[in-house]
């Protein structure tokens, strides 16, 4: 005879609910609106937080177990890559420039996501949502740290990595990703969920990680491949959180639809503009190309994003404004961006180059009807000037869009020969934009976007010089002073790839492995 009754076997959902939902309570000694002070000011109406469906059900013990397993694998690969001088197995040292862009432009955003999700994970009144956000906050700390550790090896040997923190907060094009995340974290918690959880993680993140990291693998970078794919394994949890967040808001109250739709429009466009850098990495910066930006856009935006917006149509949500323009512009985006960085080589801490004739043929094949017509002649012209020892450098500072902060480099919808300009007047001042998308965002919230720290404006106002600089000196060179203030190693970080220290080192080190010279 036994007295031991088997305890009730609880299913995954039931068990998880007891492990999270049961933990909180309606406070009585302090009013709930004081405990959750940021929950209502955006106008999102929530009637029942219990209707929140947990997007995934990981208790902390399982989280620690699986994440530790991932980390052990990842750091083992990183160590092996460093110990074996894995960098010398890369297709070409030009590849490393995409990592410089990544560490200075993307990794600091992972950090912002960490802090942002800690804030939202404290602010949302629903316990299921809070736990999911906090777990994402912890994951995002993982991403920034694994990226720093992975690229630390490159920093020891190659230029342009050494001042990523300082540069992210100052350099002209890095204000594009920085302002994107500053915009999200300064919005309310619900908007943050649509901005980062939904629009960025669900709609756009695959475009950043999957083709780019496949490209890393294809170019022999096992270190970057390992952190990238390993980060993505968390990303799938983050994506489902974003999807649940939007469904939850839409199901709670019909009044939420117009607010959410505006956020979808805004954040799709904000995110899409940041991805300009990715388009350029895929088409121009990977020596061995894995897929074109156009192909990546078709698979991860048009096909998968299309399926998503079909699914959301039942709530009355339509695809974001600007979606069609983004689809139309896929054949222009990367060439327009790379042309800009090529011209402003002197102010960017990574190397640029004119695409080789074979690479131009690849572009022509991937972009029939546009590359040869609009972009090849320009690159060939620059190649001729380089051959003549007269590389083109643009010494004039560009006008920036007040919202996305990208220089005015994009063309009019339907006319790739004319630069697109828009403007609005607010409080007696005229503000300039690169597109209808950015102008719409400004017009909806001008009091926010007039605050932007625009790098070019700041340079002209004299705010980007070292304290000891003397602008009245006869030989004062403002551009040189600015890049010194950026903490670039002048003539090294910002040199053209041809003749750079990276190129020389890579060649010499590789030679050491294959010859006795």
């Amino acid at each position: 005879m036994t007295t031991t009754a088997a305890p009730k076997k609880l299913g995954l959902k039931e068990r998880y609910a007891l492990m999270t939902r049961g933990l909180d309570w309606q406070t009585t000694y302090q009013p709930m609106e004081k405990v959750f002070p940021y929950a209502t000011y955006e106008g999102i109406k929530v009637h029942d937080w219990n209707a929140w469906e947990d997007p995934f059900r990981l208790t902390m013990d399982a989280y620690w177990k699986y994440q530790a397993e991932k980390e052990q694998k990842l750091y083992a690969i990183m160590d092996a890559f460093a110990q074996n001088n894995g960098h010398l197995g890369l297709t070409d040292a030009r590849y490393i420039n995409s990592l410089k862009l990544f560490l200075t432009g993307v990794s600091p955003l992972e950090y912002m996501a960490h802090r942002g999700f800690a804030h939202v994970g404290r602010s949302l009144p629903g316990v299921g949502a809070r736990v999911a956000c906090q777990m994402q906050s912890l994951d995002e700390l993982r991403h920034v740290q694994t990226q720093i550790h992975s690229m630390s090896n490159y920093n020891k040997l190659y230029d342009g990595f050494h001042a990523w923190r300082h540069m992210h907060d100052r350099v002209w094009y890095l204000s594009v990703p920085k302002s994107f995340f500053d915009d999200a974290i300064t919005a309310g918690p619900f908007e943050f969920m649509i901005a980062i959880g939904f629009s960025f993680e669900y709609v756009l993140t695959n475009l950043l990680f999957v083709p780019f990291i496949s490209g890393a693998a294809y170019n022999g970078d096992m270190g970057a491949m390992a952190f990238g794919f390993s980060a993505q394994s968390d990303e799938s949890r983050h994506m489902t959180l974003g999807l649940e967040a939007i469904k939850f808001m839409l199901e709670q109250d019909p009044d939420n639809l117009p607010i959410v739709q505006h956020w979808i429009d805004k954040w799709f466009w904000r995110g899409y503009r940041v991805l300009t850098l990715v388009a350029m990495m895929l088409d121009f910066m990977l020596p061995k190309k894995v897929m074109s930006w156009k192909e990546a856009w078709e698979i991860y935006a048009e096909e998968n994003g299309g399926a998503l917006f079909n699914d959301l149509a039942r709530y009355g949500v339509r695809p974001p404004l600007g979606w069609q323009q983004a689809c139309d512009d896929k054949v222009h985006l990367s060439s327009q961006a790379w042309s800009t960085f090529y011209q402003y080589q002197a102010a960017a801490p990574f190397h640029t180059w004119v695409p080789s004739p074979e690479d131009m043929d690849w572009m022509a094949q991937k972009y029939p009807g546009t590359f040869d017509q609009y972009y090849r002649p320009r690159f060939e012209h620059w190649a001729e000037r380089e051959a003549a020892g007269d590389r083109y450098n643009n010494g004039t500072l560009p006008m920036l869009c007040q919202v996305c902060q990208i220089p005015m480099l994009f063309t009019e919808p339907g006319d790739p020969t004319r630069i697109c300009y828009r403007d609005s007047v607010y409080d007696g001042e005229r503000y300039h934009f690169c597109s209808d998308g950015c102008k719409n965002i400004f017009d909806h919230e001008p009091e926010k976007y007039v605050q932007a720290w625009l790098p070019v404006h700041q340079i002209y106002q004299g705010n980007c010089f070292r304290p000891e600089a003397d602008p009245t000196a006869a030989d004062f060179n403002p551009l040189l002073e600015v890049i010194t203030w950026y903490q670039m190693n002048v003539g090294v970080d910002n040199a053209p790839y041809e003749g750079s220290e990276d190129q020389r080192h890579f060649r010499a080190w590789r030679q050491m492995t294959t010859s006795n010279a």
């Binding site: 009730k8 309570w25 000694y29 906090q134 204000s175």
Partner: protein
């Protein structure tokens, strides 16, 4: 440093990132902890003010009254970054899992004396709500605090407290099934002996100063609660009925010993910065110690009976000694 490459070697161009080199000195190899936390937070040229707190920048040291010349003076003596954190916790959870499995398989919960079981359920299971408050508060410190070497360990602490809430939930399920959780929640909401602690936890949820919240939650409340519950009470229960429950709270015991090193280092650094800081932190520690003592005392009366007053006195003495060691004057 030389990297061996077959018969030739490559001399690194530099050892670490500039901002790390400025802190550790030139030509030194940085640790992964240093590269992973030092100066990782943005500190300049924020584009917009938070719509939820327009009086401050996104990251703004003036959210707390504590004044530091350099917030990266705070260092975690455990040198935890994400990988070392998860690997340390994965080991602890493996032990905890084995303990829970042992108790479950041997049916030890059923053979545990009924009155001892009642005692354990009454004190331990409602504490899952306290852990939940600690989770919220550390998430808050991580979000609104300043400087990665101070804020990053707070998200570890937040998730650890969620883990503790979940271990306490499992303990409740194992000793008393789902009803035990319902009873504990009812006690938390309405039983007189729990109201002082619930009042305190709710007051912590509305503290706006992240460093005051740190002192109140991680130093004062946990600094008294953990030794009393997982030390004194656990020992008393083991004497009464054997170590079954002790096995189920081993995680909390090991965790408190480990995290206290970090909490002490943080308090010590804050107090050592200036006499104004020492006074400020001492004031917070005194206020929240007194609140914690008043809130915990009725629970100890119920759990320890006649031994409670002496246990409380010992706990406060030990806490004051710890505070003094950290440079505080209580």
């Amino acid at each position: 440093m030389q990297i061996d490459l077959r018969t030739v070697s490559i001399t690194p161009v530099r050892q670490t990132f500039d901002h790390v080199a400025r802190r550790i000195g030139p030509n030194k190899t940085a640790s992964r902890y240093q590269e992973g936390v030092l100066d990782v937070q943005a500190n300049a040229n924020f584009h917009y003010r938070p719509t939820w707190d327009p009086g401050h920048e996104i990251f703004d040291a003036s959210r707390t009254k504590l004044v530091m010349a350099d917030w990266y003076a705070f260092r975690d003596p455990r040198q935890m970054y994400y990988a070392t954190y998860t690997i340390a916790r994965a080991r602890m959870q493996e032990t905890a899992e084995a303990d829970f499995e042992f108790v479950e398989k041997r049916g030890l919960a059923d053979t545990f004396a009924a009155d001892a079981k009642r005692r354990a359920l009454d004190l331990l299971v409602p504490l899952r709500h306290v852990a939940w408050g600690a989770n919220m508060n550390n998430s808050s410190i991580c979000a609104y605090g300043y400087g990665t070497s101070f804020t990053a360990p707070c998200i570890f602490q937040a998730m650890d407290q969620l883990g503790i809430a979940q271990y306490l939930t499992r303990l409740g399920l194992l000793l008393g099934d789902v009803e035990a959780l319902d009873e504990a929640k009812a006690a938390w909401m309405d039983a007189p002996q729990w109201q002082g602690l619930r009042h305190l936890v709710e007051d912590l949820l509305v503290i706006g100063d992240p460093f005051e919240l740190y002192v109140a939650q991680n130093f004062a409340l946990d600094g008294l609660l953990f030794p009393l519950v997982y030390g004194t009470f656990d020992t008393a229960l083991t004497v009464q009925a054997g170590p079954t429950v002790s096995m189920l709270v081993r995680f909390q015991n090991d965790w408190f010993a480990e995290t206290s090193k970090w909490v002490d280092a943080t308090i010590k650094t804050a107090a050592a910065e200036s006499s104004a800081n020492a006074e400020l932190v001492s004031g917070w520690a005194t206020t929240w110690r007194d609140r914690a003592v008043a809130a915990i005392a009725p629970l100890m009366d119920a759990a320890l009976g006649g031994d409670a007053p002496a246990a409380m006195t010992d706990a406060v003495t030990a806490f004051d000694a710890r505070a003094a060691k950290c440079g505080l004057t209580l």
